[in-house]
């Protein structure tokens, strides 16, 4: 059973332990709203293989779009595909446009979502998701490898990121 990756800005906000003094059991803190953005009423997810062998490459693909440079950890949550089934969510293939060409076909959209759907998704993610962080050095190393193998579309990369990866601008 594959997983679906949802990029989040700060995984610590999904840990309710620091809010236990005021947050009731089963509730979610409102600060996670930032991680539930749904452009065109669709949630953006990435399909991760059962053995998670494409996890680091997909994160590298995500980061290859950024203008910010490399010193940013990547926080994310993984949700098993069968949990999405619980919501009757149907992730549709929608190729991304990252610089890491081979990874773009792993992108999925879950379209036509109401706010209620998104909130349900948040509860599902909070209950069943595996929240983690990929360190910036691992991402940097993987992007450099992808560059060496000629897998990056350099035209899609921002100058600052290329500079920090040692790629000629």
């Amino acid at each position: 059973m594959p997983y679906f990756l949802r990029a989040i800005y700060s995984n610590i906000k999904w840990d309710t332990t620091p809010f236990s003094s005021w947050l009731k059991e089963g509730e979610l803190p409102s600060c996670i709203v930032r991680d539930l953005r749904a452009d065109d009423n669709a949630l953006s997810l990435w399909e991760i293989s059962d053995d998670k062998s494409n996890l680091l490459d997909i994160i590298a693909a995500f980061v290859s779009l950024r203008r910010e440079g490399i010193k940013y950890d990547f926080d994310y949550a993984l949700l098993s595909a069968n949990h999405l089934d619980e919501l009757c969510f149907t992730p549709l293939k929608k190729p991304a446009k990252t610089a890491y060409r081979d990874m773009n076909h792993y992108h999925r959209d879950v379209p036509n979502l109401s706010i209620n759907n998104v909130v349900y998704f948040a509860y599902l993610l909070s209950r069943n998701g595996k929240f983690d962080r990929m360190g910036w050095k691992e991402i940097e190393a993987r992007l450099k490898e992808a560059y060496t193998r000629g897998q990056l579309d350099l035209k899609r990369m921002q100058p600052e990121l290329k500079k920090q990866l040692g790629i000629p601008v």
Binding site: Y9, D15, Y72, E138
Partner: protein, 264 residues
């Protein structure tokens, strides 16, 4: 040097011997000497709360005189003699200038003062205002990587232009508890990202000082900042922190930071 009060002799030896260290530890801070509008011929000493006894001690090097006020329950308060008949009273980061009075009562000196002025030099005041402007601009932002990038750039420019004093002032603003946890956490990450050898040590010390903060969000920012700063000296403290951390996701984040520092 004339010591006006008998009790001062021990303190005198202690303070003079430790004067440079006091400054480094933040007990003693005299930006007045940088400001020509305020006295340049005076000096004073803050009493550390670690010094046994409750005394306030101040002396004037040029006049070779000293006065000791008995004090109780004070924090970072001190007194400095100015040329003429005036004295400067220091209270934390504030000061006031008054006419000299004849008293040995701490309370009579300090507790009758109604208005203190920020104790800060003109250049520091400018840096502080610039830092506050940055924090004000981002205080209510929903941070994402784009916003974090802009915020980091703003602090980068401030620190590169002003060097170590800028890091000290940012540290002061964090400690004043006027910033929310999110902006402090983002500040710590930004301080780790900035590539500036001149202030690296100060930024490292600032980050290390907050890895045990009460707020998990601030601890997370400090851990990330240390990871970005890429200084292996942090490893020992991070390993200890990993053992004691009680917030599960943060515990994992610490593990990620340790792995990053260990790997390369």
């Amino acid at each position: 040097m004339v010591i006006a009060e008998h009790e001062a002799s021990t303190l005198d030896e202690y303070q003079v011997a430790n004067l440079p260290q006091i400054e480094h530890h933040g007990y003693c801070y005299f930006p007045f000497q940088e400001n020509p509008q305020i006295a340049t011929q005076s000096s004073g000493i803050f009493l550390s709360s670690e010094v046994p006894g409750n005394y306030l001690f101040s002396f004037n090097i040029d006049a070779e005189s000293a006065t000791v006020f008995f004090a109780s329950g004070f924090g970072q308060k001190a007194l400095s003699f100015l040329p003429g008949e005036q004295i400067m009273l220091l209270a934390g980061r504030y000061y006031t200038i008054q006419n000299r009075i004849q008293t040995h009562s701490y309370h009579e000196v300090f507790d009758t003062v109604s208005t203190y002025t920020p104790q800060i030099s003109a250049s520091d005041l400018q840096i502080e205002q610039s830092a506050i402007n940055i924090f004000d601009a981002y205080q209510h932002e929903e941070f994402d990587t784009d916003i974090a990038y802009e915020f980091t750039n703003a602090l980068d420019i401030l620190i590169r232009a002003n060097g170590k004093p800028a890091v000290r002032i940012i540290n002061d603003l964090i400690n004043e508890q006027i910033l929310n946890d999110d902006i402090i956490s983002e500040t710590l990450k930004a301080l780790g990202r900035i590539e500036d050898e001149n202030t690296k040590e100060e930024r490292y010390q600032l980050l290390m000082g907050l890895i045990k903060d009460d707020s998990a969000i601030i601890r997370d920012g400090a851990v990330s900042g240390l990871s970005f700063l890429d200084d292996r000296r942090a490893l020992a403290q991070l390993r200890i922190l990993f053992e004691t951390e009680t917030v599960p996701i943060l515990k994992n984040n610490i593990k990620v930071a340790i792995k990053g520092l260990e790997t390369y």
